[in-house]
């Protein structure tokens, strides 16, 4: 089992959620994060003073899924969340050794 962490632009959340649920993916966890990267921040004004805000609002989507779904999910997310502009974000894939469904105590792939 793998975990996909996709850092995307906030307004892409709904579309990405839709393509994922369109696959056999049943669960998603979303966190509001702030990102710093190649995309420049913006300047804000405060009584005539200008200051730079480096961190931009991003959304992190975490999905744990079976190995066989990984490639397809990456593809779908990439397709959907890409605007072609810098700052579209990243997907990180990492190993998950065990999954437990709290309600039932089920383990492994059936618990996803």
């Amino acid at each position: 089992m793998k975990k996909l962490e996709a850092i995307i632009k906030p307004f892409m959340l709904d579309s990405v959620k839709e393509v994922l649920t369109g696959m056999e993916i049943q669960g998603i966890t979303v966190t509001e994060v702030k990102g710093f990267g190649r995309q420049k921040g913006h300047t804000e004004l405060y009584r005539g003073a200008e200051y730079t805000v480096d961190f931009l609002p991003k959304v992190k989507i975490e999905v744990v899924l079976k190995e066989e779904l990984v490639e397809k999910a990456i593809e779908k997310i990439t397709e959907t969340a890409s605007t072609g502009k810098i700052g579209d974000g990243k997907i990180f894939v990492s190993p998950i050794e065990e999954v437990v469904r709290i309600r039932t105590g089920e383990r492994g792939e059936s618990a996803i």
């Binding site: 004004l45 405060y46 009584r47 005539g48 200051y51 805000v53």
Partner: protein, 429 residues
């Protein structure tokens, strides 16, 4: 005999009628219900400015200090109410001592009853003035948010009120030397705004910068609060300025109208200047401009006409914006720009009164209406208010620094004063 009695009667009757008329128009010794109604609501309006100010400041500060910032204003409602009752009112409005300060005749409001003082009960005048005394130290707090010890702050505002506000108030409104000299200050450009603004400058210089200033950005944490504050301030300011007529008369109306006009113009003055300078019109600019306009028209209301008010407001918006920008050159950390807005805004207003005052409105002409000496008088009074406020505040704070200490510890500052001083947090959403 009959003839005489007739004439006598006629005379008496006419006398009675005349007295009646005179009574209504000139006699200072009769309470007028309409004036009482207006001054009651005006007093309430000025009270509302204190929470308004708390919100205006609070929204601009960082979230970790929000309650602390609110508290600095709010506590003045407790501390100065009591100070004013016990001796503050007496110092400001008690029998004159050397044109400098009031005596102790009104201590504990002794002798301050419901008898007429002008056309309103004496206690009403006292409570209206109380609200000014409460608001003024709270204004200073904007400069020193985020780093001052609360205990010291309480002692500071008692001392400041007693040693700076009460004398200045006496000079201008209590029969002191400034009123003798003919200085015009309708609703407190000198007494309230220059005094607090210049003292704020002294305070933030002595207190030093907030940790991280100016390197670290300290953006306002909740600007809708600032809007609420600005709205309540503006609303309350009608009581502050038009109430300073002490009657529901044409002077009050004139003061009300120019207050509205100057404030509107100052919004535009600030916003357009910023728009040109930085490329964007900011909301905080609009709110700040409004306050700058309100400050600047305060001394002038009741003395100037609508078009003068338009110019004074626009000018105040422009100048206060530039002053806020210039702050960064000088390097002091006047956190919420009390000096730029109140100190300089009040100065603009007090000097402009010497220029734009028109005898047709308030009985005195300014320079533009052919009376250059009034500008001189205004200038002297402004200079005196600056020097006195700065000097005495400086001394008070130096003494407090040496005795109680002014600043919280670095850890308390970093944690935020809400948690470290008050054991609370503003938001648990």
């Amino acid at each position: 005999m009959k003839k005489i009695s007739v004439y006598l009667f006629a005379f008496t009757a006419i006398l009675l009628l005349n007295i009646d008329v005179a009574f209504a128009e000139d006699a200072p010794a009769k309470i007028v219900a309409a004036d009482t109604a207006w001054m009651l609501i005006s007093s309430a309006l000025v009270m509302l400015m204190v929470p308004g100010l708390a919100l205006f400041y609070g929204g601009m500060d960082r979230g970790k200090n929000i309650l602390s910032t609110l508290m600095l204003s709010f506590i003045s409602l407790g501390v100065i109410t009591v100070q004013w009752v016990l001796f503050g009112y007496s110092l400001a409005f008690g029998g004159d001592i050397g044109h400098f300060i009031g005596d102790f005749s009104y201590v504990a409001l002794n002798g301050v009853g419901l008898e007429p003082n002008g056309t309103i009960p004496h206690q009403l005048f006292m409570v209206f003035q109380m609200m000014f005394a409460i608001l003024t130290p709270a204004l200073i707090s904007g400069a020193i948010v985020g780093r001052m010890k609360f205990t010291t702050y309480i002692v500071f505002i008692v001392l400041w009120s007693t040693l700076v506000y009460d004398p200045l108030c006496h000079w201008v409104w209590g029969g002191g030397w400034m009123s003798d000299m003919g200085a015009l200050d309708f609703a407190g450009g000198l007494v309230v705004h220059i005094s607090s603004g210049v003292s704020a400058l002294a305070a933030c210089i002595i207190l030093g910068k907030r940790k991280g200033f100016p390197r670290e950005a300290m953006p306002p944490h909740n600007l809708p609060l600032t809007l609420i504050g600005a709205g309540l301030l503006w609303f309350g300011w009608f009581g502050f300025n038009a109430g300073s007529a002490l009657a529901a008369d044409t002077v009050a109306v004139s003061a009300f109208v120019v207050t509205q006009i100057a404030t509107g113009a100052a919004i535009l003055g600030w916003v357009f200047t910023e728009w040109i300078h930085r490329g964007k019109p900011t909301f905080l600019g609009a709110a700040s401009g409004a306050v700058a306009g309100l400050v600047a028209i305060t001394p002038a209301a009741g003395f100037v006409g609508p078009i003068s008010a338009l110019l004074i407001g626009a000018l105040a918006g422009l100048i206060c914006y530039l002053a806020v920008v210039a702050k960064h050159r000088f390097g002091y950390d006047d956190a919420l720009d009390v000096f730029a807005v109140h100190g300089l805004g009040g100065t603009v207003g007090a000097l402009a009164t010497g220029l734009f005052a028109s005898a047709a409105i308030g009985g005195t002409d300014g320079l533009f209406f052919g009376n250059p000496s009034q500008f001189g008088t205004q200038f002297i009074s402004v200079a005196a208010a600056w020097i006195y406020s700065f000097g005495v505040t400086f001394i008070i704070l130096k003494v407090l620094d040496a005795t109680m200490g002014l600043r919280v510890s670095e850890e308390e500052e970093v944690t935020g004063l809400d948690l470290s001083l008050h054991g609370e947090r503003g938001y648990t959403i």
